[in-house]
Amino acid sequence: MEFLKPPPVRRLDLEHAPEAKEAPKRRNPLTRNGNGNGNGSAPSGFSSANRRRIGEPQLSIPRMEIDELSVAYDGKLAVKEVSMPVRQGEVLALIGPSGCGKTTLLRSLNRLTELTRSASLDGRITLDGTDIQRLEPTSLRRRVTMVFQQPNPFPMSVFDNLAYVLREQGSRRGSRRSLHDPVCEALDRAGLLEEVKDDLSHPALKLSGGQQQRLCIARALVAKPEVLLLDEPCSALDPQSTEKIEELIVKLREDVAVVIVTHNLQQAYRVADYVGFMYLGDLIEYGGAKKLFGKPSEDRTKEYISGGFG
C-alpha cells in the first residue's frame, strides 16, 4: 500500500567519506614585517583596510575625564579602575572581547548604568570639570547622548523623533515651525536630510536599517551634546550603511567628542584616533590608533589584534 510507504532516509556513506583537508598554512600577520606597508599608512595586519580619516585630528579639547572608575554588578567587578580622557576632535574607540566591560564603561559615562539596579560605581567621571554625579541625570544625558546597537527610532514620524528630544519632557508644545530648523540641522549633520527632507512626517520605523541608525544619530545630535557615545552602532547594519556611518563618525569628531565601542577591529582601525583595549574589566592599553594597532606595547593587545583570542 503506497499510503504506508516509509519516507526516504538519507544514509551516510561512511566508507567513502571525503577526508578533511588541512587548510593551507598562513603566516602570522604580525610576524611579517615591512611587507609592502610603506609610508606607515597601514600597520601590519590591517594592510587591506583604509583609514577613513580626513587627516590627523586638528584639535583636541578635553571634555570628559574618567578617573579610577570601577563598576560592579552585584559586587562583581565589570570595570576595574579605568582612567582615560575623552577629547573633542578625536574619535576614541573601545575594543575588547565580549564581556570585557567596554559597554559598561560607555554606559557609565551618561549614568545609564544607574538603570541597572545591581550596579554600583566607584571613582570619578568629570564632564568639563564637573563631577557627573553632581549633575541632574536628565541634563547630563542631554549633554552626553548615546546611540545603541539596534536601530531604535521611536514609533513616530521622522520629525517627531527629533522634536521629542527638543521638547520639554513629555509635552507636545513647541510648534513645528519653531523646531523645523534645529531638526533639519541635526538630520543634515547625520547625513540623512537629503533622503528624508521631502517627507519629514514619514514613519521612522519604515526607514531602512541604515537610515534608522542615522536617524538615531541625528536624534542623539539634536540636543547639541558635548559627547556622543556609540555602542556598536554598525553591528546590525549592512556594509554600505556601515561605511556611511563610519564616514559620518569621522566627520563628527570636530564638533563632539566621539566614543565608540566596537567588536570590529577593522572598524576601530578605520575610524579611531585613540583606542582603548579592555580585557576582563581592565584597561590593558590606551594609545593612538596607529601605535596600538602597529606596535602594541602589551602582549595581550598584540595577541588580541592578531586574532589570538576574543
Partner: protein
C-alpha cells in the same frame, strides 16, 4: 559496511509511480497512531466550527425573523401575549450605559496598574501582591463579585450611588453594576497592556532615557503609544465580557425591564436608578425565564451577538493595523 548505517532496501520499489517532488511532508508516511490523532484534531476543529456556525446561523435566522425597528425602539411593557410586551429599547440603552461605565473605569485603572507593574513595580513584594490580586479577580466568578457588591453598595456611606428610602439604601443601580462590572474587564485590560509593554525592547526605553527623558515622559510619549494596539485589544475584549455578563446585572441592576429613575437631575436620575441590559432581558424572556417571550429573547440575543461580532472584528482590525505599522524586531 559501517555499523552505523543500516542496509538500504535491496529491491527498488517495483514500477515506481511518477516521482512526486512535493516540498510538503505527507501524512501518509506517519505512524498509525499519529494519523489517528490527526483525524481526531480535524474532527474537533470541524465540530467546533460547526457549533459556532450553528449558533450564529440559528440566531441570525431567528433574529432576522423577529428583529423589527419597533422592537428596538420601544420600551418593554407588561402584556399577556408576545405582541403586547413591547420592545427592548431600555435594555439596549442599558447595555450601552453599562459598557461605557465599566470601560470608563477599567481602562484607566487597568492601564495604570499595567504601567506600574511593568515599568516601576517596586517594592518587589507589592508588585507580586498586585499581580496575584489581578489574577484572583480574573478567576472570580462574576456572581461572587455581584454578591459582594450588594453588601458594599447597600452601605449608608454609598447611598448617593443608588435609591434610598427612609434610611434604607437600595444598593442596586447603574452606578453599582457599572463599578462592579469594571472588575470583570480590568484583568483583561491589565494583562493585555502588560504584554504590549513587555514586547517593547529594553533598548528603546534606554534610548529615551539616553536623550534626557524621565521615566514618566518615556511612558507617556513612547511606551503607551507603542502599546496602543494591545491596550485597544484588552479594552475590546473587556467590553465583550462586560456586555455579555449577566450575573452582576441581575443582582446589582435590579432585575427590572424598564428604567426606574430617581428624583435627581438628568444624567444622575438614570444612573442612580435601576434598569436592565440585553443579557438580563434575554435571561428573563427565555423560555425558562419568568417573562417567557422567546421571540423577543431571540431578537435581543441577536442584537447582543452582533455587538460581540463587531468587537471581535475590531480586535482583528487593530491587530492587522499594528502589524502594518512596523516594529523593532528586525
Amino acid at each position: 559496511m559501517s555499523p552505523v548505517a543500516t542496509k538500504p532496501p535491496v529491491e527498488p520499489p517495483k514500477q515506481a509511480p511518477e516521482p512526486k517532488f512535493e516540498a510538503v511532508e505527507s501524512a501518509g508516511a506517519w505512524r498509525l497512531s499519529d494519523r489517528i490523532g490527526l483525524v481526531i484534531c480535524w474532527m474537533f476543529g470541524l465540530l467546533f466550527c460547526a457549533i459556532a456556525a450553528a449558533i450564529v446561523i440559528y440566531l441570525l435566522i431567528q433574529g432576522i425573523k423577529y428583529v423589527r425597528p419597533d422592537v428596538m425602539f420601544s420600551s418593554p411593557k407588561v402584556g399577556f401575549t408576545e405582541a403586547d410586551t413591547g420592545g427592548f429599547l431600555d435594555p439596549l440603552i442599558g447595555t450601552l450605559i453599562i459598557g461605557a461605565m465599566g470601560i470608563a473605569i477599567a481602562l484607566p485603572v487597568g492601564v495604570g496598574i499595567a504601567v506600574w507593574l511593568s515599568e516601576f513595580g517596586r517594592p518587589f513584594a507589592l508588585a507580586r501582591i498586585v499581580e496575584s490580586t489581578v489574577e484572583m479577580i480574573a478567576g472570580t466568578p462574576s456572581i461572587v463579585l455581584a454578591l459582594f457588591g450588594t453588601v458594599i453598595f447597600s452601605s449608608t456611606a454609598l447611598s448617593f450611588l443608588s435609591r434610598s428610602s427612609e434610611g434604607v439604601v437600595f444598593g442596586r443601580s447603574f452606578f453599582a453594576a457599572g463599578i462592579m462590572i469594571s472588575l470583570v474587564a480590568l484583568p483583561l485590560v491589565v494583562s493585555s497592556t502588560r504584554e504590549g509593554l513587555q514586547a517593547i525592547p529594553q533598548h528603546v526605553r534606554e534610548a529615551s532615557y539616553a536623550v534626557g527623558k524621565t521615566k514618566i515622559a518615556t511612558v507617556r510619549r513612547i511606551l503607551l503609544p507603542s502599546a496602543r494596539p494591545s491596550v485597544a485589544t484588552g479594552t475590546m475584549l473587556g467590553l465583550g465580557r462586560i456586555i455579555g455578563d449577566t450575573a452582576i446585572i441581575v443582582v446589582l441592576l435590579g432585575a427590572l425591564q424598564n428604567f426606574e429613575k430617581t428624583g435627581s437631575p438628568f444624567p444622575l436620575n438614570y444612573l442612580q436608578g435601576a434598569g436592565s441590559t440585553l443579557t438580563n432581558y434575554v435571561y428573563a424572556n427565555a423560555p425558562t425565564g419568568e417573562l417567557n417571550n422567546p421571540q423577543k429573547a431571540y431578537a435581543a440575543a441577536f442584537v447582543l451577538l452582533v455587538f460581540v461580532l463587531i468587537l471581535n472584528a475590531a480586535v482583528d482590525l487593530v491587530h492587522r493595523q499594528s502589524r502594518k505599522a512596523g516594529s523593532w524586531n528586525s
